[in-house]
Symmetry: C2
Subunit: 191 residues, 2 copies
C-alpha cells in the first residue's frame, strides 16, 4: 500500500532493538482517513475469504480491526490480555511472549464469542516474530474456528514471523512490509 | 439512544461493585453496526462544536473514538496509560485513579499531538466517577486546548461523575444513562 509506505518513510522513527514508532498516524495519533483506507484495503484483499469475524488483541489492533470490520460488516472480537495464566473454563487462552516488552501474557477470548462456525480474519497493527498471531491461532484451533487469513498493517519482514506463517500456508497480507531499517541513519526499506 | 438502551437491557450483566459488563457488543465482542451508529450519533450531537480532534484513553475508548472520528473527519489522539508518573518534558500527563481496578495510573499525551489550536471532543465508553475525564481535562488545560464536550457511550449516573461535569458547564452527552442497577436482580433502569 503505497500511501502507507510513504507515511512510514516520512514519519516512522526507527529506534534501537528493532522498534519502529508510528505514533504520528497509527499508535498514538490516528490519521482517520489513512485508517479507513487500511480497513478498505483489508476488505479488498480478503473479500472472497468468507470472513464471519475479525479477531485481534487489545489494544493497538482494535482501531484497525473495527475499521476493517465496517467494510466486512462482521463483528470484532478482541482478545484480552492478562498477566496471569487463566484456568477459567469459560475462555480460550494462549500464552504469548512479547519481545517488545520482554514479558509473557495470556490472551483470552470468551468461549461465547468464538466457535467452529467462524471463519476468522486475524488483524493486527504489527507483525514481527509472529508470537501474537501464533497465540491467536492456538485459540482459533481450540475453538475449532477456520483461519481465513492474517491482515497486518506493518510487517517487520526481517524478524521472520510473516515468512514462517506463509511457509505454513497461511494467507498473510501485510500492507507495508519492512525489509530492513537502520536505527542510526533512520533508513527504512520495503520489500 | 434507544437501540443502545435496548442492548444494555437485554445483554448487559450487572455485577457487584457497580460493574456493568457489556462484553457481548462493546467491550470484548464489538457489534460493528451498533458501533457505527454510536459514532454517527456523536457526530449528530456535536456537529456544530467545531471539533478538530477526538481524544480518548486506551484501550476501550479507542474503538468508539475512531468510529466517531470517521464522521467528524478528524484525527484521534488516545492517551497512553503508564503505571509510573512521567517527568518527560515532551508529554502532557495527568494522574488518574481507577475505581474499577483500585489503582492509579498516568495518562500521557505527546505535546506533538495536542495544542492550543485544538477543539477537542473527549470520548469514552464509560463514565462513572469521572476520573478519566477529569484527567483528560487536566491535559487539555495544560495544552491550552478547548474542550468542545464529552461523549460517553454508557454513563452510570448514580456515581455522579457526569452530573459534576454538567454542573461545571461541560457539554456532556451520554448515549445511555443508567440511573440504577441491581446486581441481585440484574435490573437496569435508565434516566
Amino acid at each position: 500500500m503505497h500511501l502507507l509506505e510513504q507515511r512510514i518513510r516520512e514519519e516512522g522513527v526507527v529506534k534501537k532493538g528493532n522498534v519502529l514508532k508510528v505514533d504520528s498516524f497509527l499508535n498514538h495519533r490516528i490519521d482517520i482517513r489513512l485508517l479507513d483506507a487500511i480497513g478498505e484495503e483489508f476488505h479488498r484483499l480478503f473479500s472472497d475469504a468468507g470472513v464471519t469475524k475479525i479477531v485481534t488483541i487489545e489494544a493497538s489492533g482494535i482501531s484497525v480491526a473495527v475499521m476493517a470490520a465496517r467494510y466486512f460488516d462482521v463483528p470484532v472480537v478482541f482478545a484480552k490480555k492478562s498477566k496471569t495464566a487463566q484456568l477459567d473454563s469459560d475462555v480460550y487462552s494462549a500464552r504469548i511472549h512479547s519481545f517488545t516488552h520482554n514479558n509473557d501474557y495470556t490472551a483470552i477470548i470468551s468461549r461465547k464469542y468464538l466457535s467452529s462456525e467462524d471463519t476468522v480474519l486475524v488483524i493486527d497493527d504489527f507483525l514481527a516474530n509472529g508470537e501474537a498471531v501464533r497465540g491467536l491461532r492456538e485459540i482459533l484451533r481450540e475453538a475449532g474456528a477456520t483461519l481465513a487469513g492474517v491482515g497486518i498493517v506493518i510487517e517487520k519482514g526481517f524478524q521472520g514471523g510473516g515468512d514462517r506463517l506463509r511457509a505454513e500456508g497461511v494467507h498473510v497480507e501485510s500492507l507495508a512490509l519492512v525489509d530492513s531499517m537502520n536505527a542510526e541513519t533512520g533508513e527504512i526499506s520495503f520489500r
